[in-house]
Every structure is written in C-alpha cells, then in structure tokens.
Symmetry: C2
Subunit: 198 residues, 2 copies
C-alpha cells in the first residue's frame, strides 16, 4: 500500500475510490467483529459484508491484525465535562455519558471482542489501553481539580475514585449482562462520592 495521504498528511488527496473503500471496509470490520468476535473474524466475511472484493482488502492491509487496528482507530467515544454546575452534577454528567457509551455505541458492541483481542495481541492491547485511558483521564482530571479546590478531601485518590465510579457500569455490562442506562449515574455518584462533596 502506497499511502500518499499518510506521506503528505492529507487524507483528502487520496483517490476518492480508495477513501470510500477504506471507510466501507472498516465499518464492516467493526460490524463483523461485534457479531463473531476477533478469533472467528475472517477477511472473506468482511469482504462479503462490505460488498467488496477480497483483493481490495489485501491491497490496503497486510492482514487481519492491521485491519482491526485501523478499524478501532475510527471508533469515536467522546466523553466531555460540562463547563458549569456543581461537582456532583458534572460527575453525574460524565458517568451518564459512560453509561450510554457502554450500552449502545458501536464501541459497546465491539468491547467484549476488543477485550478478548487485547488479551492475545500486544498491539491491540496497547490500543485498547490507550483508548480506555483517554476516557478515564477526563474523569480523573475533573476529580483532581476538585481536590485542589477542596471540594474533595486531600486524601482522595482520583484514579481510584474514577475507577470506582465507572467500574459498576463495566461490571454490570460485562459480568452480569444487566442493562445499564444513564439513570444509574446519579445512584453511583450518591453511593461512591464522599458525602462532603454533595
């Protein structure tokens, strides 16, 4: 694959046919991955799903791993902190976003496959770890600020508190197969955030 765009840094310089193929194929990878998982993922199934020749896939990627990596890179899972509001309100807002993400996004569909793939391939693990850490950093930053302003006790471990806030959502989604709606957010916050912060 001669990737002019990567060399010049401008995706738009690509032949539009290439761009279209890439887009369609990567989406098919995510769909297929959510259905069959990483181990059972095949190039042929992806090609069929994308309505594309196998050769087109092999022209652009060396194999399954790189294909999956690229597909993951297209995943968007933005979490943002509201600018205003009390600490509690802002934390609730973040947890709500996480709950929605884990319940109904493309990301959520692929999450179990991603976790499994990360266990077996270091490249996928690196990506998944970074991907997760980005999301966690948003909440950790919010908590860290609150510690500085004194809204949270100085003894607070922001990483651990963030994990305790998000952990229940993952646990219920992955281990208990329970529905996790955004309504769980205030309940978690009330249960976990120190009373002094409410």
């Amino acid at each position: 694959m001669v990737d002019v765009a990567a060399a010049s840094g401008a995706v738009s310089e690509l032949d539009p046919r290439v761009e279209r193929s890439r887009r369609i194929i990567l989406q098919a990878v995510l769909d297929e991955l959510g259905e069959v998982g990483y181990g059972a993922l095949t190039i042929e199934a992806i090609a069929a799903r994308a309505g594309v020749g196998k050769s087109t896939i092999y022209r652009h990627w060396p194999g399954k791993l790189e294909l999956v990596e690229d597909a993951f890179r297209t995943l968007k899972a933005p979490v943002t902190v509201p600018e205003h509001g009390t600490l509690r309100d802002r934390v609730v807002a973040v947890i709500e976003q996480v709950a929605c993400l884990v319940e109904q996004s493309t990301y959520s569909t692929c999450m179990p496959a991603l976790i499994d793939a990360a266990e077996r391939d270091p490249k996928v693990r690196d990506f998944h770890t970074r991907f997760s850490a980005e999301r966690r950093a948003v909440l950790v930053g919010l908590l860290r600020d609150a510690i500085e302003t004194g809204e949270l006790p100085a003894t607070t471990d922001p990483e651990l508190l963030a994990d305790a806030l998000v952990g229940p959502i993952l646990l219920r989604r992955l281990m208990l197969a329970e529905p996790v709606g955004p309504a769980i957010a205030p309940a978690i916050v009330d249960q976990v955030l120190p009373d002094t912060a409410k």
Copy 2:
C-alpha cells in the same frame, strides 16, 4: 453420550478411563481457551493438547459449545467472608480474594474469553452471569448485614456498593491491562466505603 453417572447421580460409577479423559480434556479446554479465545478454539487443538483422540471428545460432547460449558463448570472461584473482624477488615479480605482471583487464577486466564463468548452465545452468557452473581452475592450479603446492624447507612444500596468495590479491579484488569495485586484492596475500601463505617 450415555452418562450413567448423571442418571444414577454418582460420578464414581463411571469407568475410570472416562473420568480421566473428561478431566484431562476439560482442563485442556480451559488452557486452550485462555490462549486462543473462544472464536479460535478448535476441537483438534484441544485433542492435541490433551493428548487424546478427537473421537474421544466427540464421544462425550456434541460440539464446542457444550464442551466449553462443561469446562466452565469445573472452574472454582471461591470467595468467603471471614467470620470475625470489623466490617472494614472483612470487606478488605473479600476484595483481596477478588483481586487475587482476577489476577492469577485459571478463571482470570479465561475471563476475557468468557466475556467474549458470553456476548455471542446465550448459554455461555447464562453461565457467566450466574457464575459472577454467585461471587457478588457474598459481598452483597456482607454489606446487607452491615446495613441491618447500622454499620452502614440505611441509604446504602448494597449491590451498587459491592459493584463499586469490585469494579475498579475489573476495570484495571480488563480495560487498562494494569497489574492488580491484593494490595489494592484496602485502598479501594478506604476510598469507597462510607467514612461512618471505618
């Protein structure tokens, strides 16, 4: 498979060769599953790993799914509550057990594969859900008792608190690929358990 033991309710009535085969094969399933995951799991690889003919496997199980189900059933992941000690000490002890389980047991090795498989097969999901719920119930029971004795506020949601205590361990193991030793237990408890209970 004509399972005399199941019919009579006594495993020991089986031909010892059958018993031995079953044991060896099911262990090989768990080992293989931890290495390659559910999607890439093959009967041939299991047979090779177990040092057994494929025919022996097909004599006892109809296919991969039932085989994996049986293998999971052999998983042991006991979590117990110490009889004595303060609430905090007992909770810490439980969380320590969970941390060890998630870090270094056969269960931990298979956990990502189990999560992935549960996503694709209802039977596996049922098993996994029940398996997880059993473990959670131990901690929930402990917290529920503490609510009744007044050690925890009456407003406590025992399930949610339990999930907040265990969640960080799962999150770090599955999403961040961080090492999770038992040392994390007291930190979690101090961060999450209400101050009134310490």
